[in-house]
Each structure stands twice: as C-alpha cells, then as structure tokens.
C-alpha cells in the first residue's frame, strides 16, 4: 500500500516536471474509470470523450494543486464531475433540459428492488432520465453529494434537488422493474 502510494507520488512529481511518459501513464491509469463517470452525465460517447479530454487537460494543468493527502483518483473524479457539469451548462442541447423547476417535495419511494443489471446497462438507463434528474441522481446516488451541496453546485435549492432525486429514483425503479420483467419474459420465451 505504502509502495503504491510512493509510486503514485513519484508519478505525480514526474507529471509536474512535464514528463510525457508519466503523463501518459497517469492517463492510462484513470482514463477508463473516468470515462465511465463522464458517460453517466452525457448523452453520447462523443460528448463523454470530449469531457474526458477537457478534464484531463485540467488535471495536468492543475496537478500542482493536488495535495498528496487524499486519494488521487477521488481528486481526478471531482475534476471530471465539475467539467461534466460545466460542459452541460455550456452546450445548448443540454441547457434546455437542465432547467430545474421548483417542485414540491416528492416522497421518496420506499421500494428497494434488487439491481440485477450490468453497469453499462444501468448507466444507459440513467442516461435516459431527463437531464436534470440524471445529473442530480448521479451527484447524489453515485458521487455521494448531499442535497445542500448539489443545490450549491447547480444553483438550486436543496428542496428542488431532493424532489428531483426522488422523481429520478422512482422513474429508475420503474424502468428497472420493467427491464427485469422483460428479461424474464425473454428467458421464458427462450425456454
């Protein structure tokens, strides 16, 4: 563990020195995971890659700001999320869908279905949510931000965040149930 950390520190130092090999290594180390993050916030793979590219440029430019106390992956992930949010705000196709209306608090479903779906399929389902729901669901359920934090990040009230999250969650549960029943039907049909 300590060796890993030392290696990581050395890698960061080399990146700071501008060594292309180290930069490449750091990119290879995190690119796949981070593309997974970007993918959840965007509508297409191309947009996800654009976000990834932009975010990695930021990572290398601001690597000197990384204090080697926390985990590097978490720091990079935070940059990915912020870049993705900026990307959504910047692009018109996302802007229109990112309009958050003040809504009454929607009750959170007590339903806790078992998720029997692959990560990629789950991500695809999340991407089908309305953009506002998608972002809030990702930020809260996956990244672990509180509604207050989300409210600050998106410039909305925490109540709106809660409400949108509840709606997103209900919608996703419905889709998951439908998805699992469809799968069952397919498997019965197969038999």
């Amino acid at each position: 563990m300590a060796t890993e950390q030392m290696e990581q520190q050395k890698l960061v130092r080399d990146c700071l020195k501008g060594k292309p090999q180290a930069q490449r290594q750091l990119y290879e180390m995190y690119a796949e995971t981070m593309l997974g993050v970007c993918y959840r916030y965007t509508r297409s793979m191309r947009d996800a890659e654009d976000v990834l590219q932009e975010a990695f440029v930021k990572v290398f430019h601001h690597l000197d700001q990384y204090k080697q106390e926390g985990e590097l992956g978490a720091w990079i992930r935070r940059i990915m999320v912020n870049t993705a949010l900026n990307f959504l705000k910047r692009h018109r196709k996302y802007q229109e869908e990112m309009y958050f209306t003040e809504e009454y608090l929607h009750p959170v479903s007590q339903d806790d279905p078992v998720v029997r779906i692959q990560a990629k399929e789950l991500a695809d389902l999340i991407r089908q949510l309305p953009q506002g729901y998608q972002v809030i669901f990702n930020l809260h359920a996956v990244e672990g931000f509180s509604h207050v934090e989300i409210g600050e990040m998106l410039g909305i009230s925490d109540g709106t965040s809660r409400s949108q999250y509840a709606r997103a969650r209900n919608l996703l549960i419905t889709w998951l149930k439908k998805h699992s029943s469809d799968q069952k039907k397919t498997s019965y049909a197969g038999k």
Binding site: E32, P113, A141
Partner: protein, 536 residues
C-alpha cells in the same frame, strides 16, 4: 450519501463502470499540453524581448551627455597651455590690453573636467602654491573677479563641466580684458612652471631653460592666476591659442560657480586635467556560432484563435472551386477502409548558425553589431508513404499546385523539414553591468534573412491529407526579432569570447497564406562569439 440499499447497489455497480476511450482522446490531450508549453515559451520570449526593448529605449533616452562632452574635450596639456598663455606675449613680453593673443585666449578657454577628479591634483598644486608670495593678492583679485563674473556676459562657463580653477582662469581673463593690465616681473623660479601649467611639456621646458619670465599682473581688477604666472614661449603662444579656440562651449553662468570660486581660491590658475574616457571606437570582428532548436509557431503574438486555420485541416471536405460549397474528399482506401491523414504534429528540430560579425562601439556600454550569417533551421513531422506521381491540383485556397510526388496514407515515417537562411543581423548590444571583469550583454535587434533553399513539405487536405513539396509555397524573405543575453570572457586578454542564450522569432509567415496555415519560425538556442584578436 446513498440512503437505501438500492442507492448503495447503484453506487457499487456504477463505480465499476469502465469504458475504453478512443485513441484520439489522448492525442488531443497531448496536443493541448504541448500547445500550452509552446504558449509559455512564446510568452517568455516576448517578455524577454519586451524587457530588452524597454531597457534599450530607457537607456538611450536617459543616458547622460558625458560621452558627447568627452568627445568635444581637448587634451589637458594643450588647453592648459593656452590658458596660461592668455596673458603672456610672444618673446616674453606681456601682451598689452586688447592684444589679440591675450584676448583670444581669455575669451575662449574652457576645460572640461569633473570636479571630483580635480580635487586630488588640486591638493598637490595647492601645497606648492602656498609658497607663492602673491597669494594674498590673488585672493583679493578673486573677489574682484567674482564681482566681474556676473557682469561679464561675454564669457560663459558651463558649471557642471568646468572645474573650479578653470572658471577662475576664464573669469580672471575676462577681468583682465576689462580692467587693463599693469605688469610686474617676477622670477620664473618662484613658481614651478610644470605645476603652474598642469605639467605640460612646454612648461617643463620653460622651467629648465630658466630664461622665461613670467609676468604677474598687478593692481585692482586684474585677475591673477597661474595664467598670469605662466611662461611666455615666443611665437608658439599665438599658435596654441588659435588651436584651442574651437573648444569653447558656451553655457550660462551659475551662482554655484561664483561660490566655488571662493572655496577653491587656492587652486587658482592650476588647471589639471585628466584625459576623459572615450569609447573605444575600434571595430571588433568576431566569429558567431550558435546551436539550438527550432520549430514553427502558429500564433507568435498569441492573438486570434485557431478556428481560422481549421479549414486548412478539414480532411473530410474540400471547397468546390468557384463557390462556397464543400464536397467530400475521396481518401485512399486500404484493407480497413478510407485512410484520413490529419496534419502531423510538428516537433522541434536542430538549428545552428555560423557567421562573421563586426561590433561597432557606440559608447562605453553600447555597441551595434552586424555581419553575415548562415542559419540552418529544421523541424520534424510524420508523413505517409511516398507516391511517385506528378500532381496538379487546386489546394484548399484554390491555388494551383504542382507537385512531383506526394506523401499519403498512414503517417509512419519521420521527415525533417530543412530551411537554409542567409541573414544580416542588426543588433544592439547593451552592457547591463559595469566594469570589464565579465560584462553581461543584452543583445536585441532584428535579422533580415533570405531563404536560400528548403526541402520542407506543405500539408493539404487533398485526398484525405497529403504532404507535398512546392518551393513556391515558401516566403523567401524573413524578418526576425532576436534577443538574448551573453556573458563576455577574457576581457583583459587579447582573445575574447562570449556565450549566452538567445531566441529569435520570425515576424513573417514561413508559408504563404494561399498554401498553408500560419507558421512563424521560432528559434531558441545558445550563441557564442569568438572575437578576433586586434593588432595593437
């Protein structure tokens, strides 16, 4: 925070989501990082260039008139001689009031000498002068001269440049002119002529001969200084006076000059000059050698964006000649499908320079350098396979291009674009520090270059991306801004040499706009000069 089991499951699942990005993502990240590095270099270049320009300008605008004054000054001995002789007559006779020689000398004598330098010599002279019995009379006459100086508008002395005793000589002479002369003969032995005349050869000679009689002026209003105690030297006197006439500099009198008269009254009439330091006007010849790296920069002034240049790189569409329409290009196809070859990254290449320069000193710390140089610059690109075919086509900007052979397809090979320039530098060298131990010199200026030959390739989006060579695509004349710092060694030896970093940025595009995107040559390297020994 995930609140329920469902949320936790979602988090677990999605944390494990890994997707492989396409290769272009890293390529673009790398490209951006390189661009940023290049931007830093450009900023550093212009920062240094700006400082160099600002420094040079400030120096030229604020530099003192010392050099100009120094150049107009006259060797000390000669001037002193004439000053002394102002009241002497040919053949040992004192000139009568209104005598031509005496008048000329009195009205024209001015010595340029710094007061600080005079102090030492004044002390020596003062001690000897104390032996003079006429000192009291001199003192009295000084006060008379002091009164006269304000009245006398004919003789004006520049206060900053003229030493105190010189002022006195001038003042005294002027007074003589007005008040007339009464003469008294004294023995020449009572005054050491060498001292009195500022140790000039002639004075020393006069002292040896002992035949010369100096004439001392007497009576009120007659200024007495060493010029009155000096020796007559026969006919030479008049000639000397005539020689010194053009040296005069007119300047208004100041209150200080009068005050100084009182302070330094003991040093009256003992003008001792040190020859002023002049800039060595000899031309220095040197061999100029430099080595470094070079590469093109698309935005040397960091203005505008690259969007205008993007059309040059659109490998999928070409403009239709004569209209604003675009049509898809037909790229070469291999087993995997159509092959588009985007513009290759340009990597810096080796650059070196050799030449002969001459350095013309303009002042003690400023010199002008020019000469003739040969400069080789290069950069590296990746290209596809060579296709030996003669092509005539209209390029992106509808310019007809004729190419004997092109490079197309997957970019597997490295190609070195080579440029051979002959150039004439026009540089100003400004020594930043004082002293000769190790001068630090800021070199700034321009170079006018001519592209003698090149093998460089030009990119076009033809058939999905093609590199070709067309010598007409390149601009022949280049104008560069050059700046650098050099450290000069061996300043006290016959062989001098200097070394230091330098950078140069082309101010004209290398490739014509109708052929390719903007490219300005940037060179960064280390330059060295070996100064040829001079014959002494």
């Amino acid at each position: 925070m995930p609140e329920s089991e469902f949320d936790k499951q979602i988090q677990r699942e999605l944390e494990g989501l890994r997707l492989r990005p396409s290769a272009t993502v890293w390529e673009n990240v790398e490209k951006e990082l390189r661009q940023k590095k290049r931007r830093r270099i450009i900023i550093a270049f212009w920062l240094i260039a700006g400082i160099a320009l600002l420094g040079s300008t400030t120096y030229f605008l604020t530099r003192k008139d010392d050099q100009i004054l120094a150049e107009t000054s006259v060797p000390a001995g000669k001037t002193n001689g004439s000053a002394e002789q102002s009241t002497t007559a040919a053949g040992g006779q004192t000139p009568a009031p209104g005598d031509g020689a005496g008048e000329k000398a009195s009205s024209t004598t001015e010595l340029i000498q710094s007061p600080a330098r005079d102090t030492e010599s004044n002390k020596n002279v003062r001690s000897k002068n104390e032996n003079l019995t006429e000192n009291t009379r001199v003192n009295r006459n000084i006060s008379t001269a002091k009164d006269e100086i304000n009245k006398n508008s004919a003789v004006r002395v520049k206060p900053s440049a003229v030493s105190q005793q010189d002022e006195l000589s001038v003042t005294a002479a002027a007074t003589n002119k007005k008040a007339g002369f009464r003469k008294r003969q004294t023995s020449a032995e009572s005054i050491d002529p060498a001292i009195a005349t500022g140790k000039t050869k002639r004075a020393a000679k006069a002292s040896e001969n002992n035949t010369v009689v100096s004439q001392r002026q007497e009576g009120e209003g007659t200024a007495i200084n060493s010029s009155a105690d000096t020796v007559a030297k026969g006919k030479d006197t008049q000639e000397d006076i005539t020689e010194t006439t053009p040296v005069v500099t007119a300047a208004p009198p100041s209150k200080d000059s009068t005050a100084d008269l009182v302070k330094d009254e003991h040093s009256v009439g003992v003008p001792v000059n040190t020859p002023p330091k002049k800039a060595d006007k000899k031309i220095k010849w040197s061999l100029d050698l430099a080595v470094g790296g070079s590469g093109p920069v698309s935005r040397p002034f960091l203005v505008g964006d690259n969007h205008a240049d993007m059309a040059y790189d659109n490998v999928q569409y070409m403009p239709v000649q004569g209209g604003g329409l675009w049509q898809p290009v037909t790229p070469p196809v291999n087993a995997f499908g159509p092959v588009y070859s985007p513009r290759s990254d340009i990597k810096p290449g080796l650059s070196y320079r050799a030449g002969v320069l001459f350095e013309l000193p303009l002042s003690k710390r400023v010199a002008f350098t020019s000469g003739l140089q040969y400069q080789y610059q290069s950069n590296n690109i990746r290209i596809g396979s060579y296709v030996n075919t003669q092509l005539i086509f209209n390029n992106f900007a509808s310019q007809q291009v004729r190419a004997n052979g092109v490079y197309q397809g997957v970019q597997m090979k490295t190609f070195t674009n080579r440029y051979h320039y002959v150039q004439i530098p026009l540089l100003f060298n400004w020594q930043l520090n004082k002293g000769n131990k190790m001068p630090v010199i800021l070199n700034t200026g321009f170079s006018a270059g001519y592209l003698v030959s090149t093998n460089a390739l030009t990119y076009d989006t033809l058939q999905g991306g093609t590199y070709y060579h067309d010598r007409n695509a390149f601009k022949r004349f280049q104008f560069s801004f050059t700046t650098g710092v050099s450290f000069r060694f061996g300043n006290h030896r016959s062989m001098q040499w200097s070394i230091g970093p330098e950078a140069s940025m082309g101010l004209r595009k290398m490739v014509k706009t109708e052929y390719d995107t903007r490219q300005y040559p940037l060179y960064i390297g280390v330059q060295g000069r070996i100064y040829l020994p001079r014959n002494k």
